[in-house]
Amino acid sequence: MNAIESASLRLYWPAQRQRNRGAGGLLIVVAAFLALYAYLFPGLLSVGGVAKFAQSWLPLAMVSMAQAILMLAGGVSLAIGAMVSLGAVIAATTMAGPLGVAGGAALVMIAGLGVGAACGVIVVRLGLPAIVVTLAASFIVGGAALLILPRPGGTIPAWLSDLLAGDKPVAAWLVIAVVVFWKLYLATPLGLSLYAAGENPDAAYRAGVPVDAARILAYAVSGLLATCAGLFVAAKTGSGDPVIGEAFTLNSIAAAVLGGVGFLGGKGAMRGALAGSLLLSVMINVMYFLGFPPVAHYIAQGLIIIGAVALPEFSARRRAL
């Protein structure tokens, strides 16, 4: 900040702070769960512990952001899981071949951007409901992933697996890199327009906001995040699996909703989606440590989502009285 600038002209950070109001409660819950987890598993507080935890969190964090960006734009995607699978199989079939790691990674990104943008064009230009288009896309993309790699297999070069999913906390740095990428995206005119385009597309159009471009770009960025998450999942397991992404579709919605991202567009922030995904990850890990059966995870997850959505409502009503 420039010294000449008066306090009243500060804008970027105060605006960010205001936008993240109300995330406080969630952050406290997340911190409490993290503390509990660290108490149960003191190993978390070492470099290796952070590395392992970040590795389990990163894919969910990325798909939650992929979902949140579409929900901000007034849409939703049911194709996130299929996109993750697609990213994983492309990585597993190309990276050990003549294209190499760089070529494979580029292909993964191109596929994510391309398929995402295609969904976006169909939704935006034809005015079809996002939920239907992405449902159809989930079948098509899931089918394509099975065509590329009919059964689990393929290989990821060992050095890449070691780098991304080894003992060093590279995944934690990647989380930070994704956050920075998002901040930069939202600091562009087209990125910020997402909020206006999501909340009130007609008014935004009249205000000269390139609504269509902003929304199509959001679909493309969402696809990119999802396939890159797939790449990471493949690197973690060392091979590709054409159905590995399935659980991510609903989990990404769960995390975004937990983080306070609204279904009607324009409401919410990336910080919320990220915190939501963190809460889900930590919760699953904690319950695993406490020896809960997997069924209990699902039930608890459902209860927590309902609670997280209902709590702000209740407190708002209390304030109104």
């Binding site: 420039n2 600038e5 009243s8 002209l9 500060r10 804008l11 970027y12 105060p14 605006a15 702070r17 205001q18 936008r19 930069l184 600091a187 562009t188 005119p189 910020l192 327009s193 909020y195 206006a196 909340e199 009130n200 007609d202 008014a203 935004a204 159009y205 009249r206 205000a207 000269g208 906001v209 390139p210 324009g266 409401k267 919410g268 922030a269 009503r317 109104a320 009285l321």
Partner: protein
């Protein structure tokens, strides 16, 4: 010879679904002139604005900017050419800050990113022009309606427009904000901006504008300097005949027994309200915009949780705890935001008219379609609602929509009508019909509570006016003492004018 118009429409026509909304309309906006565009709701004003600003394409005719013909003009081109529009309906993004809302669509950038420092500086300058002193980073969702309207205006000014189009900018502004705006427009005019000003408030238009174009049913009926025109002439040009007096004669009703009495009512912003509502009267609720008028109506209607020391509704103790209970007690509420709260826009007119009646019927009883049709037709006739009852309410003009919102309650024969700004954005003719209806209901012994931002309406229509400020009733003015001055003075806290409630 006049200079070339900055923005002009030449013989534009536009139809929607075979309905001609504009027929060969021409209008020319000159620099340094405030040009009024008048017409009833449904006359085609909004369509003309949308064509001038590129949001709609005309079927025939052309838009000219600086004498150059633009075909396929879109909003971005229009913005680039220096045309800015303040829409009647708010189009702000609640989660974004004031400054981001002002800049969006024309954000200054540096290295591909938003130049937040430049944005802050320029947004501040635009806010200063309209007298917004809020923090730049405040989310727009935190602002009351009137302030949001000022943000809309600041958004238009941010683009330093050569042509500024304002569609009913004052309908949700307080008196003070209107003054700020008027002074601002005069300054802009002096600097050579071409301004198109749409308003239903004729005295504003007479004071502010130099030229007027009147639209009636999509045709221009007048295009002339405003000098030498009487307000009554303009009204005649808009409706095509002499409207006579806008307000019906006021006669006191015989039955003046209290039907609702509350004391110590608190809810939301409301603090310790004492009031009594009598049969046969129109009780006005006045004050600046957003002083708790809506909360008062809603808490009487059981739609907001509220508490009261004592309350008596139609001889029943206690406040209604729910809308259903309020309906059973004989209350009806007509909201200000008819598009969102008052009507189901995508459903048929007839269906909307039947809704409160359906809600009162036994839950699982079968509907009697032919009876419904008869009743809906009768209502439409009585309220002079134009159009086929099977059409969507969305297709109606604002005035006709409002009539549907009012008419749908009459089969329930409410004893108390709670009306929230029922004439906002409604054309003159419909206003007159609504006023006559309100006085008729009062003479039938019904109680009317009329919250309004239109002060003349309160003066001419009401038996008493309660003026609100900061969630309290600060004065209750009786008929004999009613004047615009008295209401405004009480609303601004200028004068401790109090009479017994």
């Amino acid at each position: 010879m006049t200079p070339a118009p900055t923005l002009a429409a030449r013989g534009v026509s536009k139809s929607f679904f075979g309905n001609a909304v504009l027929r060969e309309v021409s209008i020319a906006l000159q620099p340094g002139r405030i040009h009024a565009l008048l017409g009833e709701n449904g006359a085609g004003k909004s369509t003309l604005i949308n064509i001038l600003s590129g949001a709609l394409l005309p079927d025939a005719g052309a838009v000219e900017i600086d004498g150059r013909v633009f075909r396929g003009l879109n909003p971005r081109d229009a913005h680039r050419a220096g045309i800015a529009v303040v829409q009647q309906e708010l189009g702000l993004t609640t989660q974004l800050s004031i400054a981001e809302n002002i800049g969006i669509g024309a954000l200054p950038r540096r290295y591909g990113l938003i130049d937040y420092r430049g944005l802050a500086r320029r947004a501040r300058a635009a806010m200063d022009l309209v007298g917004l002193n809020e923090d730049l980073a405040t989310p727009v969702g935190d602002l009351p309606l009137g302030r949001r309207q000022m943000v809309e205006i600041a958004r238009a000014l941010f683009r330093e427009p050569r042509v500024l189009i304002l569609d009913e900018p004052t309908s949700s502004l307080s008196a003070h904000e209107v003054e700020t705006l008027t002074a601002l427009l005069d300054r802009l005019r002096a600097k050579g901006t071409a301004i198109l000003y749409i308003s239903h408030r004729l005295n504003e238009v007479m004071r502010l504008c130099q030229h007027v174009t009147v639209l009636k049913d999509g045709v221009v009926t007048a295009d002339r300097p405003i000098e030498g025109v009487e307000a009554a002439d303009l009204v005649r040009l808009m409706v095509g005949r002499d409207t006579g007096h806008l307000f019906p004669a006021w006669t006191p009703s015989a039955d003046r027994d209290p039907i609702i009495q509350v004391s110590g009512l608190s809810s939301g912003v409301l603090r310790d309200i004492d009031m009594s509502i009598r049969r046969g009267e129109v009780l006005g609720i006045g004050g600046l915009v957003g002083q708790g008028q809506e909360d008062l109506l809603l808490s009487l209607y059981g739609a907001l949780p509220a508490s009261a020391r004592t309350a008596e509704f139609n001889r029943q103790r206690n406040l209604p705890a729910s809308v259903r209970r309020a309906n059973a007690l004989g209350l009806a509420y007509v909201p200000a935001d008819r598009k969102r709260e008052g009507l189901h826009l995508i459903h048929a007119i007839g269906w909307n008219l039947m809704l409160p009646s359906l809600a009162r019927a036994f839950s699982l009883s079968l509907r009697d379609r032919s009876k419904e049709r008869v009743l809906a037709t009768a209502l439409a006739d009585r309220f002079a609602i134009k159009g086929d009852l099977t059409r969507q309410v969305r297709a109606l003009s604002g005035g006709n929509q409002q009539k549907v919102a009012l008419a749908k309650w009459t089969p329930a024969e409410p004893q108390v009508w709670l009306l929230n700004d029922p004439t906002r954005g409604v054309d003159v003719e419909t206003k007159r019909e609504i006023y006559a209806l309100l006085r008729r209901l009062a003479s039938e012994g019904k109680a009317i509570v009329l919250s309004s931002s239109d002060t003349p309406e309160l003066v001419h229509l009401c038996d008493r006016v309660a003026v609100m400020r900061e969630g309290r009733i600060v004065a209750t003015i009786e008929r004999e003492a009613l004047s615009e001055g008295a209401i405004v003075a009480a609303a601004m806290g200028a004068d401790p004018l109090r009479t017994a409630a």
